[in-house]
């Protein structure tokens, strides 16, 4: 998951991640990358969202210096999740909330849970509700919609 440290809507995404990992912690490597622009202090990055993410067991939290990882995975919106299977194949990408800042059942969560359960996901891509992750320097992906 790629997170903008100051995006208020991403709180719901962190909560959804927590719910998924609470059920499927084993065999899952969860990585959360917090955007850290160059010139910004660590304090800016290590926001409330950071602390919420680090509190989730089994989650590895990283600083994404200058959004390099985000660019690498094509993340444009805070709360963007990519899911790879054990063979490294991309199984899912998109948001895991039903709306802006909405926790609760949603299509993205269902897809990931299905994948974790070994089933096929109904959807492989969902909209992401959050702030623009990289701003002017972000690269638009045709498959990713950003809602603010």
């Amino acid at each position: 998951m790629f997170v903008h440290p100051q995006c208020p809507c991403t709180r719901a995404s962190i909560e959804e991640l927590n719910r998924i990992l609470a059920r499927w912690r084993d065999g899952v490597s969860a990585q959360v990358w917090f955007f850290k622009p160059a010139g910004f202090s660590a304090q800016w990055t290590q926001s409330t969202l950071w602390r919420s993410a680090t509190a989730i067991p089994g989650v590895a939290v990283h600083e994404d210096a200058d959004g390099a990882q985000a660019r690498l995975f094509g993340a444009e919106t805070s709360g963007y999740v990519v899911f790879y299977d054990a063979r490294g194949r991309l199984q899912f990408r998109g948001g895991i909330t039903a709306g802006r800042g909405h926790a609760g059942d949603n299509a993205g969560e269902d897809a990931i849970v299905s994948l974790l359960a070994g089933h096929n996901a109904g959807l492989r891509q969902t909209p992401v509700y959050g702030c623009s992750l990289l701003g002017e320097c972000q690269r638009q992906s045709p498959s990713q919609q950003t809602f603010q």
Binding site: H4, Q6, C7, P8, C9, F35, P37, F40, G67, S78, A98, G99, R100, G101, H102, P127, Y129, C131, S132, L133, L134, G135, E136, C137, Q138, F147, Q148
Partner: protein
């Protein structure tokens, strides 16, 4: 029943109207209150929306760039717009339907905004339900309809065109909006039911309140009516109490005055207490009693009283010295008009004689009322107050009543004084009479035997001198007895027609000798002086007595004038408890320029045993005797005297037109004799014997009898008597009764009655009945001889007696 029906209908209509009014008022109050609740709630919601936007999404980020989130602006401006309009209406036009519908719509739009701000969170949709519940406060289902319509349209439109805003999802089924609308309808349905029930309860409350009001109003009206009745009754009671208080004070005063007057022996003591009582009960501060001096025509201070709360010593001292002429000052004015009068503030009335003093004593109001005895004012009572007071009618009436009471008291005292004097005179008279009867018998015997003895003693005989002294003492005793009878008016007068000029002229020589050379006697006679009918001897005694008193009043000499005149009294007058009738009078004035008398002495002048002379010099009977004689003759004596100036006694005797009686001086003639038969009837043996001796010496045939029955027996059995000489006061039958018997049996028998005291047996008011012959004891042998001869020689004397109703009898006995 019929009358009450329209009233009941009217009452029902009134209550129905009131119920509707109360219901409407209550509903309107709730609506206005709810308007205000929403006004405050919406302001709070606005701030909440702004706060929510600040909390949830204050800024929006784009990489490292950020700017204020659109939601914050929406919360501020859109929220503000949704808030301000209804809030303004709530305060500007509370209670109006437009206001609450605007509020309802705005509240629902605020719900939509909040839902949007929270990203369509389903929890925020509860704001809609909460708002509807609060809108139900209006208890107006139409408001709920407006709100529900807005909610439905909002959900429908946003659900179609912007589902993320309302549901937080990118796309939503249209049915979801209907589902939301359904839940809203569900709530609104029950809210409407609740509203209807609530309105029903409100109506019920209004009905109860209206009925309660009607009941309360009825009770209040009843209470008001009762209160008004009570107030009226209280007012009437207060007026009655005040009236009763006034009446009680009036009665109390009159009763107290009556009690004082009943118990007071003198007017001086009575007036002192009366003034104190009147002022005390009627709350006046001082009072003065002015007594009318009718003779001098002035008012003199009889009594003055002041309360302890007033400095009035100087006022009282001055009042005691003052006199008022008729018409002068307040008392004089009241005396003049015979009615009450007052001065409201004497401090501002410089004509008030005691103006300055009353000013010092801070006396303001003066009121005076007359003491009326019939139509005459006997005195004036004056009362003073330090307060300025009105003399109301009650006070006037009460004081007039008291004035009348005092008038009756004065009149009563006058009559009592008269009665007392009469009783005193009666007592003295009875005493004198009792003494006189026996004493005169004794004096008759003593004097008679002295007179019989003296001619038989030659001058060289010592016994002649002794007998002469006994004779003189007898004469003095006789005079004293006569005086006692005279002042008590018990003597028998033998009046005849007199001319007082002749009487005084006849006495002149004797009077000059009596008064001495130091006193110049002058006489002034009215040549046209009328005649009077009086006892010659008694009148002489009166004039002599007056002259002696004048002499005693001029120890160093002086002038005594005796004048006579005619006078006409044109009005009945009262003096010294005696009334003198109007008419023509003859006046003998005896004036001296001696030491005069004070008023105090004058007031006691004619009382028996009152004398200003030293002990042994006067008996105190002289003037009393004079007064008795004159009064007995229908006249009066008036005294005018000033200390150190002199005194004038005026003797008034009723004038008569009758001619003078012929008189002759028998003293020088020899004692008459006769041979007629005489029966002497006398219970006192000594007198009987003496009379027998005298008459036998004069040649008469005398028989004696000790009582009337024996005498009648003798008259019946013996040859006829020419004369019966009888005592008057005898046991069993009086001389007068014997005379009557003789007159009926022997009409031509002459009767001569003799007595020292007759007790009105022979005399009417002291004057001898016409037709009776009378000889007063003590008599001398000469007086008896002459009287017997006179009676025997006057054959017609008893005729008039017979003409007066007695039956005719024998021509001779």
């Amino acid at each position: 029943m019929n009358a009450s029906t329209p009233k009941t209908t009217e009452l029902t209509e009134t209550i129905s109207g009131r119920i509707a009014q109360l219901f409407q008022e209550q509903r309107q109050n709730i609506i206005i209150h709810t308007d205000r609740v929403f006004a405050r709630l919406m302001i709070c919601q606005w701030f909440f929306a702004v706060g929510l936007a600040l909390f949830v999404s204050p800024r929006t980020w784009s990489g490292t760039e950020s700017h204020i989130h659109l939601h914050l602006w929406a919360a501020i401006f859109l929220g503000g717009a949704l808030t301000l309009a209804p809030v303004l209406l709530a305060y500007a036009r509370p209670g109006e339907a437009l206001t609450r519908h605007v509020i309802a719509v705005a509240q629902m739009l605020m719900s939509a905004l909040l839902i949007h701000l929270t990203g369509g969170r389903i929890e925020t949709h509860f704001h809609v339900f909460g708002s509807l519940a609060i809108l139900a406060f209006y208890r107006d289902w139409k408001v709920l309809i407006s709100a529900s319509a807005v909610v439905f349209v909002d959900h429908l439109l946003r659900g179609i065109f912007w589902p993320a805003s309302v549901y937080g999802v990118a796309s939503a089924s249209i049915w979801r909006s209907f589902e939301h609308a359904g839940w809203v309808i569900f709530e609104v349905t029950f809210l409407i039911v609740s509203i209807r029930k609530s309105l029903s309860e409100m109506h019920l409350c209004a009905e109860r309140e209206a009925k309660l009001e009607a009941l309360k109003e009825g009770i209040e009206q009843t209470v008001a009516e009762r209160t008004a009745e009570l107030a009226k009754a209280n007012k009437a009671l207060s007026a009655e109490n005040a009236e009763r208080d006034r009446a009680e004070r009036k009665l109390q005063t009159e009763y107290a005055v009556s009690r004082i007057l009943a118990n007071s022996p003198t007017w001086e003591q009575a007036m002192r207490e009366v003034l104190q009582t009147i002022c005390g009960i009627l709350n006046w501060d001082a009072g003065t009693f002015w007594r009318a001096d009718q003779r001098l025509g002035v008012l003199r201070c009889g009594e003055v009283w002041s309360g302890s709360n007033i400095e009035a010593d100087e006022f009282k001292a001055l009042s005691r010295q003052m006199i008022f002429a008729r018409g002068a000052g307040l008392p004089g004015r009241v005396w003049d008009i015979g009615q009450s009068a007052g001065i409201c503030d004497i401090a501002h009335d410089s004509s008030f004689p005691r103006f300055l003093l009353t000013k010092q004593g801070a006396i303001h109001t003066a009121f005076a009322f007359p003491i009326l005895v019939g139509n005459n004012v006997a005195g004036v009572v004056e009362i003073f107050s330090r307060k300025i007071r009105d003399t109301d009618n009650d006070l006037l009436l009460s004081l007039n009543n008291i004035g009348n009471q005092l008038g009756h008291f004065f009149e009563r005292k006058r009559i009592e004084g008269h009665l007392f004097q009469s009783q005193k005179m009666e007592s003295v008279g009875r005493l004198a009479g009792g003494v006189a009867h026996d004493f005169n018998n004794l004096l008759t015997v003593i004097g008679g035997y002295c007179a019989l003895s003296l001619p038989q003693l030659d001058e060289n005989n010592m016994l002649q001198k002794n007998v002469t002294e006994i004779q003189k003492a007898t004469d003095r005793a006789s005079a004293l007895t006569g005086q006692l009878l005279a002042f008590s008016r018990k003597q028998v007068l033998q009046p005849r027609i007199l001319n007082l000029n002749d009487v005084v002229q006849g006495m002149e020589k004797m009077l000059r000798r009596l008064i001495g050379e130091d006193i110049d006697l002058s006489t002034v006679f009215d040549s046209s002086l009328g005649n009077v009918k009086a006892d010659f001897g008694q009148i002489e005694q009166v004039i002599m007595n007056m002259a002696v008193n004048a002499r005693d009043a001029m120890p160093s000499g002086g002038k005594l004038t005796i004048s006579t005149s005619n006078a006409v009294i044109d009005q009945k007058s009262n003096l010294r408890n005696r009334t003198m009738d109007a008419g023509a009078y003859v006046v003998v004035a005896i004036s001296d320029n001696g030491m005069g008398m004070t008023e105090e002495i004058q007031s006691h002048l004619f009382e028996p045993f009152f004398t200003t002379k030293g002990i042994g010099k006067g008996t105190g009977l002289g003037l009393a005797t004079c007064y008795g004689i004159v009064c007995q003759s229908g006249g009066d004596i008036r005294v005018y005297s000033e200390p150190n100036t002199g005194t004038t006694f005026k003797i008034y005797l009723p004038r008569t037109d009758a001619a003078l009686d012929a008189t002759g001086n028998n003293e020088s003639k020899p004692l008459p004799a006769g041979s007629e038969s005489i029966l002497i009837v006398e219970d006192e043996p000594a007198v009987r014997t003496l009379a027998g001796v005298i008459l036998r010496q004069r040649g008469y045939q005398v028989q004696e009898s000790s009582n009337a029955f024996e005498a009648l027996e003798l008259i019946r059995k013996s040859s006829p008597f020419h004369l019966v000489l009888s005592d008057v006061v005898m046991p069993q039958m009086s001389g007068k009764a014997l005379c009557d018997q003789i007159m009926s049996q022997r009409p031509h028998t002459k009767v001569l009655l003799m007595s020292g005291y007759t007790d009105d047996a022979l005399a009417h008011h002291g004057v001898l009945d016409e037709g009776l012959s009378f000889l007063e004891k003590p008599f001398s042998p000469a007086q008896l001889s002459r009287k017997v001869r006179d009676v025997l020689d006057s054959p017609k004397l008893n005729d008039s007696f017979r003409r007066n109703g007695r039956s005719a009898g024998l021509a001779a006995v």
